[in-house]
Symmetry: C2
Subunit: 283 residues, 2 copies
Amino acid sequence: MMSEKIISVAYQGEPGAYSTIAARKFFTSKIQLIPNESFDLVFKQVEENYSEFAVVPIENSLAGSIHQNYDLLLKHELFIIGELKLRIVHYLIANPGVSLANIKKIFSHPQALMQCQSNIASLGDKSIIPTYDTAGSVKKIKEEKIMDGGAIASDLAAEIYKMKILKNELQDSPENYTRFLLLSKKERIKKDSDKTSIVFSIENSPGALFRSISVFALRDIDLYKIESRPLHGKPWEYFFYIDFAGTLSDIKCRQAISDLQELTSYLKVLGSYQRDLNYLSKS
Amino acid sequence: MMSEKIISVAYQGEPGAYSTIAARKFFTSKIQLIPNESFDLVFKQVEENYSEFAVVPIENSLAGSIHQNYDLLLKHELFIIGELKLRIVHYLIANPGVSLANIKKIFSHPQALMQCQSNIASLGDKSIIPTYDTAGSVKKIKEEKIMDGGAIASDLAAEIYKMKILKNELQDSPENYTRFLLLSKKERIKKDSDKTSIVFSIENSPGALFRSISVFALRDIDLYKIESRPLHGKPWEYFFYIDFAGTLSDIKCRQAISDLQELTSYLKVLGSYQRDLNYLSKS
């Protein structure tokens, strides 16, 4: 009998992190989740073949882009092969026996703290302690027996560490979604791919960005997102990250990229994948 | 004799924060610097007339935009009336008698930690502890007599708190600049103003961003920066912040804004001011 190969998926954080919830939705088969302390290590894991895939958050509907992962997409040679939008529900979690009145400190990842800013403020005077991970904060208050502290994380984290939920729906808006990317060292463009991500830099001249975007507009190619990041060593110049409708198997997309190459000093295709249509704004 | 009115300027952080260095460069006359724990409080200080001006960082050439302040520009009714680019030199600061070998923990603001990421990593295995302020971290390790900890802050902070500098030029690149904004409740457009900042939102339709930018391109108006931020409550829609060349006293800029108003669901002029030409990329 052949043993079935188990797919390994790297993520940042501890068991119970939101990335693990996203990772399980990407795959129907059994996966082995590999925790990592930093996003940098997650990218390296896949680049050096220790894991086959990685799942990383790239954008949250309340707090904005996770810029570090945009920078890492540029630095490492991985392809985006999928995306998934996950509704994020934050819980305030504490050690069993602890009540809300006991909580003096709140631990969580800065992104989660940002998504719950107003609700945390309404809890009164609490010390906010940023940590490297949501689920890792639950682990910390458990292991260090912090009885005057709470952690903001998923209900899965509360379950895994057998901790108590003091409050649910702690995020400031019910409309709190995070978009996750599935990354691989090998480019895998599936038949149903309909979205492509690229990164480029342009010289700092009048109209340069306009001309760059025009290669899409002139061909009625829809842009889903544009994001700029500083170009290190060249202050006030930027890399632009663009997500657009279509893949390089469409002739008009190939032509747009070819035109864009003439205008840019650097261009890299990050990957083509199927667009996740969940939670699109109804407006 | 009339007593001279001293100008009050609100900033985030503690005495010795980089914002205080920027604030002193904005004014030739004597100013009173008002420290605040958060950026939100800084904006409120000016809005509620407790301070006449505020100085806030908006963008760093290594770490990127300070998104929170973009969001606060939208939320509060203040005008941008000036900008200043400051070269940022970070120092590793400790209590007198402490040497580099003693340092196990490094305290600073997340932005400063990001700007020194690689250099911190090269110092070996240190715990990184994010705090609310650079100078505030120096104050903390002094007041709490933390002998195994260092803080990343300005040399001014080391001087104010009478602490020891262990390392200088800790930022990962010498090309580390922060752009600061001068804010006021009253719009004050000076004669030498040549740059304007606006924010707008557009409906999520193909080509919408292209059409918005075209109102500038068609009139040869240079765009200095474009930045997107999520629109709360409408996942995957964005506010766009644009800085462009010119002011509303130029007819072509007025016409561009008037055209843009037809295309946008929301538009706000944040202010016109003199562009700081320091540290422009030489490429």
